[in-house]
Symmetry: T
Subunit: 69 residues, 12 copies
Amino acid sequence: MTNHVYKNVELVGSSATSIEDAIENAIGTAAKTLKHLEWFEVLETRGHIVDGKVGHYQLVLKVGFRIEA
Amino acid sequence: MTNHVYKNVELVGSSATSIEDAIENAIGTAAKTLKHLEWFEVLETRGHIVDGKVGHYQLVLKVGFRIEA
Amino acid sequence: MTNHVYKNVELVGSSATSIEDAIENAIGTAAKTLKHLEWFEVLETRGHIVDGKVGHYQLVLKVGFRIEA
Amino acid sequence: MTNHVYKNVELVGSSATSIEDAIENAIGTAAKTLKHLEWFEVLETRGHIVDGKVGHYQLVLKVGFRIEA
Amino acid sequence: MTNHVYKNVELVGSSATSIEDAIENAIGTAAKTLKHLEWFEVLETRGHIVDGKVGHYQLVLKVGFRIEA
Amino acid sequence: MTNHVYKNVELVGSSATSIEDAIENAIGTAAKTLKHLEWFEVLETRGHIVDGKVGHYQLVLKVGFRIEA
Amino acid sequence: MTNHVYKNVELVGSSATSIEDAIENAIGTAAKTLKHLEWFEVLETRGHIVDGKVGHYQLVLKVGFRIEA
Amino acid sequence: MTNHVYKNVELVGSSATSIEDAIENAIGTAAKTLKHLEWFEVLETRGHIVDGKVGHYQLVLKVGFRIEA
Amino acid sequence: MTNHVYKNVELVGSSATSIEDAIENAIGTAAKTLKHLEWFEVLETRGHIVDGKVGHYQLVLKVGFRIEA
Amino acid sequence: MTNHVYKNVELVGSSATSIEDAIENAIGTAAKTLKHLEWFEVLETRGHIVDGKVGHYQLVLKVGFRIEA
Amino acid sequence: MTNHVYKNVELVGSSATSIEDAIENAIGTAAKTLKHLEWFEVLETRGHIVDGKVGHYQLVLKVGFRIEA
Amino acid sequence: MTNHVYKNVELVGSSATSIEDAIENAIGTAAKTLKHLEWFEVLETRGHIVDGKVGHYQLVLKVGFRIEA
């Protein structure tokens, strides 16, 4: 790591299935337009309720990627 | 959304199986007595340890429901 | 509980599979050297990204165990 | 104040007009079913956006009322 | 603990005497209407000042109780 | 909401008039370049003082918009 | 700005009218005794409830002023 | 309360005896120079250890008093 | 203090009697195995409820001790 | 300042030399692509350890720049 | 330390040179009017950017001094 | 990184010279007894004041090291 600079962005991914799936959805979408994604951190785990069950998980993530100088 | 009012309550659900299952248990129990549950947010993810393994996950949730005016 | 004293330690467990698996890895490793593990709390959920997917989940946990006086 | 006990509840009021109006809506609705409301605190100020303008303000409040022992 | 669900409520107890007494007042009052109270956590310790002395301690508590499913 | 992904950005809007006006200024400016703005949250309310009066309100907002996958 | 030093003080302003009015009241009162007031930040927005309506807004502010060296 | 303005100051009181005594020491000292002290809030409870026992409690308090306009 | 290095550990002490007693229990137990204990800070004050009264106080402390280089 | 709108971005700069150097690296890299950089705030100071010494400082910064309307 | 009382004040020091220099400027200025300064804590590290470089560091400090009873 | 487990410890390093020097002192001392130190994070930057100048910087760090399973 020789004086690299990174940018962190905040994304929200959703999934009707699981927490891990919502994280993958957010990262997979980000990877279509951003190169050098390196890490993520979960900021919030939330969701909508439909008929007394979890309808969708919503994961708020901070995602970091390396900027090419 | 025309000037609705919501109430947030804090619940703790548990499960020996998974984080998602503990969330569903809390919401499912709340849905027996509260109508119009709309969303949840995970406040804490914790649990008990039994014999060096997770015995129970305990998920502290904030759950919001619409109040009928 | 008659005036027991507990110590909390902070551990980071990782897993390529799931959040629950990373928690179990941290607790299982701690249980090899610490007796009387009683509870855990998730402090951070984060991870590394490899090729636009989650490479590893990293779970930062606080783990409590009873001290024998 | 002679050893009174209070309960705090968390409410979300909304308004298309202003922040103050959303606070009044939440308190006014609560006052229909709760007696002895005494104070409030704003926890979050948020809202929805419609066509590049604020559609609704949503004010998350903690509201305290005295319990009759 | 087999998949119990708990609810947390926020209470404020007061006492002119001591911090411990204000905690007991809040819990004692709650116990009149809520069954299965299991734990508490102090969120804030505050109070009013009268003539340069503590007039009343006010303890803001989170109190948890088990919901009967 | 079928597995949408959102991005959150942090903006600062100012106004010499009111808090609501500063929020509208930030959102209105963002709407010129970003589509699908859906919600906002106030992170900080601050401002400059001129001659013992509020010169400008400065509202720090988190604004979320849907990413087209 | 050439190595100036500032002091921050915490004030509470109140108003029966609006949030902005409570801010102006706090700043206006501070300006009677403090010179070089430069900025403010809202720390808490709270108030008292009277008859199911806002009786007074109470705004807790941090206010900064330049110290003359 | 008709548009009063309050100032909050941060004090640290100590006592070798108890938490309540350290609070009273801080408030009692403040009352010698400040009029209209109205409330306090405990920000931190800490202390020094001497020979494996509490030597002194140190209570960090926020104390509010009314400013005469 | 000439370039000393300290280590902070997190302990939980309990007592059926008082908050101060729970602090002393945690520090007294730590002092049996750790030398040079110098300070503590209360992180959380919580406890269990038995029959509508405080059963045990549980004090979570950060305790610092000097490392001999 | 006449109703300007600002955007805040989060950057991570690194340096093997000093904290100040890591800040300058992040800002210098951002200035290559962003105009009107006006302020920064340090969110986290961290780093990697190599052979018992600091290998690299990593400074997480929030950096604000004015948007041209 | 025999029941001393301390007051904490919040200061902002600036420097074009380094973080340490901004801290010394704030403390040095405070020492001109306040006796018995005993400790400080950095609350925020921020600054202004000029031409893609740090123009000034601004260090927000909490500074404590002993009150003579 | 194949399912490694890390432990985080909290250390306080001091230096009369600079912030960076206090960090190096804490890490250097830890490295004498702990292997596989990998990263650190600054939790608090504080210090003592002597004669209106910084006497010692005290840096509270979280330091992580890999546990050999």
